[in-house]
């Protein structure tokens, strides 16, 4: 059989078979609208609230603090626009990091056009935000700090707890984009100390098109979708019951084995990194060496354009990513790598491998075996 190795779990994950099984009845048998009062609707409602309970259990939050959304991008837009509009009388200044996902940066740009002020704090060469920089940027007008839990491209895990502490000292809300860490790291919302947290099901073996926003009790938030009053009136729209049930099943499956799985991935990750460094010259690891996602490998290979390498590897059956999936469409250098101090030329050499539950030792062996050939091919073309 033709070799196929998927190393792009940070882009998306396959839906777990148990998740598909859990979802199936909600398309055909339990098809009711969760807002309908009759017995068919009530069945859907029960499943919906059970799902909310499971998600809350993972975060150690209350169920009513979970709002279901259509995914990570929506959750980030919701958190930022929701806080900005709810607190616009209090202030108009928002702080984020320069390496946030586009689904944070773009709503911020949108707000700037409406008179809000945005400060993007810098990161160091490993991609770490310094909580002192956040504190220095806080003004009496600041209403929100939004810093991602871990970066999607380079995998650096940010010191969210410390950032939340300094922000709260000044009475400022904290949002974190936890799309890359939710169900990948073990944490509780109270441990992070944040007010809002975004997550997305398809990053942890759940279905696409469903996610959520944790909103700490008492947090002021303007509704995101207006209509039928679902999700406490904050996010109207008929519930995606099957999707939500699937997400909850994915949370349940995943949360039982986060520590075991992340330890396994760390071993694979580090073997992969040291293996590449041994076999290929001119390799640098991008992002923080230790404080990084267990499944993230982001390397630059001198003189090898990442996109050309991704193509060579694809023909060899390996699926990985140049930069992040969202930016790999153009020759625009990644804003994340530029923020780390890369030149446009070296940013074009960064390639990301992200591991997942189905990544086995054999897959890493195969990659280490063929990578030198792929790199050689490109270096030969160059000569």
């Amino acid at each position: 059989m033709e070799k196929s190795v998927y190393l792009d779990y940070a882009a998306t994950t396959p839906v777990a078979p148990e998740v598909v099984e859990a979802m199936a009845p909600y398309f055909t048998d339990i098809y009711g609208n969760a807002s309908s009062p009759h017995h068919i609707g009530r069945k859907a409602r029960v499943a919906l609230e059970a799902a909310r309970g499971k998600v809350a259990e993972y975060l150690a939050s209350s169920p009513e603090e979970i709002i279901f959304t259509g995914g990570g991008t929506e959750s980030n837009n919701f958190a930022i626009l929701g806080v900005a509009y709810a607190l616009k009388e209090k202030g108009n200044h928002i702080i984020a990091s320069s390496i946030e996902h586009h689904s944070v940066l773009e709503p911020l740009k949108f707000l700037e056009k409406q008179g809000f002020r945005v400060t993007l704090v810098p990161v160091d060469h490993n991609g770490l935000v310094d909580p002192h920089d956040v504190e220095k940027a806080i003004t009496p007008e600041t209403i929100l700090v939004s810093i991602m839990h871990a970066n999607n491209e380079i995998g650096t895990i940010e010191p969210i707890k410390d950032i939340a502490e300094v922000a709260h000292k000044h009475g400022v809300y904290v949002h974190t984009d936890a799309v890359q860490t939710f169900c990948h790291l073990a944490f509780a919302v109270c441990g992070l100390g944040i007010d809002l947290l975004s997550f997305s099901a398809h990053k942890f073996f759940g279905p696409k098109g469903v996610g959520g926003l944790y909103v700490r009790n008492g947090t002021l938030l303007e509704p995101f979708l207006r209509g039928g009053g679902q999700e406490r009136g904050l996010r109207a729209s008929t519930h995606n019951v099957a999707g939500i049930v699937g997400m909850a099943k994915a949370v349940e499956l995943r949360s039982q084995k986060i520590i075991k799985e992340s330890n396994r991935e760390i071993l694979l990750r580090d073997r992969f990194i040291s293996g590449i460094m041994k076999r290929i010259d001119g390799v640098t690891l991008n992002g923080h060496p230790v404080q990084r996602l267990p499944n993230n490998i982001n390397i630059s290979i001198a003189g090898v354009d990442a996109e050309a390498l991704v193509f060579q590897l694809d023909t060899m059956g390996i699926a990985c990513s140049a930069g992040s999936a969202c930016t790999s469409g153009s020759f625009e250098p990644s804003h994340v790598l530029l923020a780390l101090g890369f030149s446009a030329q070296s940013a074009a050499e960064a390639v990301r491998f992200s591991l997942g539950t189905q990544t086995m030792d054999l897959d890493i062996d195969y990659c280490l075996e063929v990578l030198p050939q792929a790199v050689k091919n490109i270096r030969v073309i160059r000569k």
Partner: protein, 268 residues
């Protein structure tokens, strides 16, 4: 193989003639169904693309990439155009070849292609001359890059490579690459008659730099005043990133961009 109107095909592109010939020999010997376009490209059924690329790469022959053959190509006789396309007679010795390293569809516009090509030599020294010849190019001395638009195509020249986005198809790409190669060689030959443009049209003074700074004398950079900071910057004793308000405050975003370009162009 004949091309049918109602089927999907991909065009596979090779980096140069040598590799293209070797690749097609591999395909013939393996009895693979393909249509010869030129020594530099073939068309294969869409569902065979990966296997074909794999088979070629397994024989240690190089492939640059592939992109979808469109109905449009069928209509305007792509194959005849490809066959008729002749690279102009090699003019000049400075740059001998540009090797196509990567070809793929544009993400934003699937009907266009983008590519990366490598030069057989470093062209850094000639970039300021090309900057003088091409109107409206943006030259970055520090990073040694030159960016310009050729009609709707976006072209980036680096020291050792070129990227093109939004080319119409591979024939368009070959033509543009050949034109750029000729341009580089011609510019090199005539360089003694060209005044190189290092993009320092503005002789920058400390006062001009000061003009782009926040002018708040906040002292965060360690200098007493913004003007002192500007003077130090021009001497290379201060870095732009030390001006925290300029870097962090969104209200200075435009100034920041201008200053970043300026400092890169000046290499300070």
């Amino acid at each position: 193989m004949d091309i049918a109107k109602d089927k999907q095909y991909e065009i596979i592109v090779f980096p140069n003639q040598d590799e293209g010939l070797k690749a097609q020999r591999v395909l013939v010997s393996q009895g693979e169904d393909f249509k010869h376009i030129s020594t530099l490209a073939v068309a294969v059924p869409e569902d065979r693309t990966r296997q074909v690329c794999r088979a070629i790469i397994d024989e240690n022959v190089l492939v640059s990439g592939h992109y979808p053959f469109l109905y449009r190509d069928y209509e305007d006789d792509f194959f005849k155009r490809a066959k008729d396309y002749k690279a102009p007679e090699s003019g000049g010795e400075f740059l001998k070849s540009i090797t196509l390293c990567y070809v793929a569809p544009c993400m934003a516009d699937e009907k266009k292609i983008r590519l990366i090509g490598y030069f057989d030599r470093d062209i850094t020294e000639i970039l300021p001359y090309i900057n003088a010849v091409i109107k409206g190019a943006s030259y970055n001395k520090g990073a040694s890059t030159l960016t310009y638009a050729k009609e709707r195509r976006l072209i980036n020249l680096y020291n050792m490579k070129i990227t093109i986005a939004k080319a119409d198809d591979i024939i368009d790409a070959w033509r543009i690459l050949d034109e750029i190669k000729a341009l580089i060689n011609k510019t090199y030959e005539q360089r003694s008659d060209i005044k190189p443009n290092f993009d320092e049209k503005v002789k920058v003074t400390a006062l001009q730099i000061y003009g782009w700074l926040p002018k708040t004398n906040c002292k965060a950079c360690g200098e007493m005043t913004c003007l002192a900071f500007a003077v130090k910057m021009l001497q290379g004793d201060q870095k732009l990133n030390n001006c925290r308000p300029l870097i962090n405050e969104s209200s200075f975003a435009q100034n920041k961009l201008i200053m970043q370009e300026l400092t890169e162009a000046l290499g300070i």
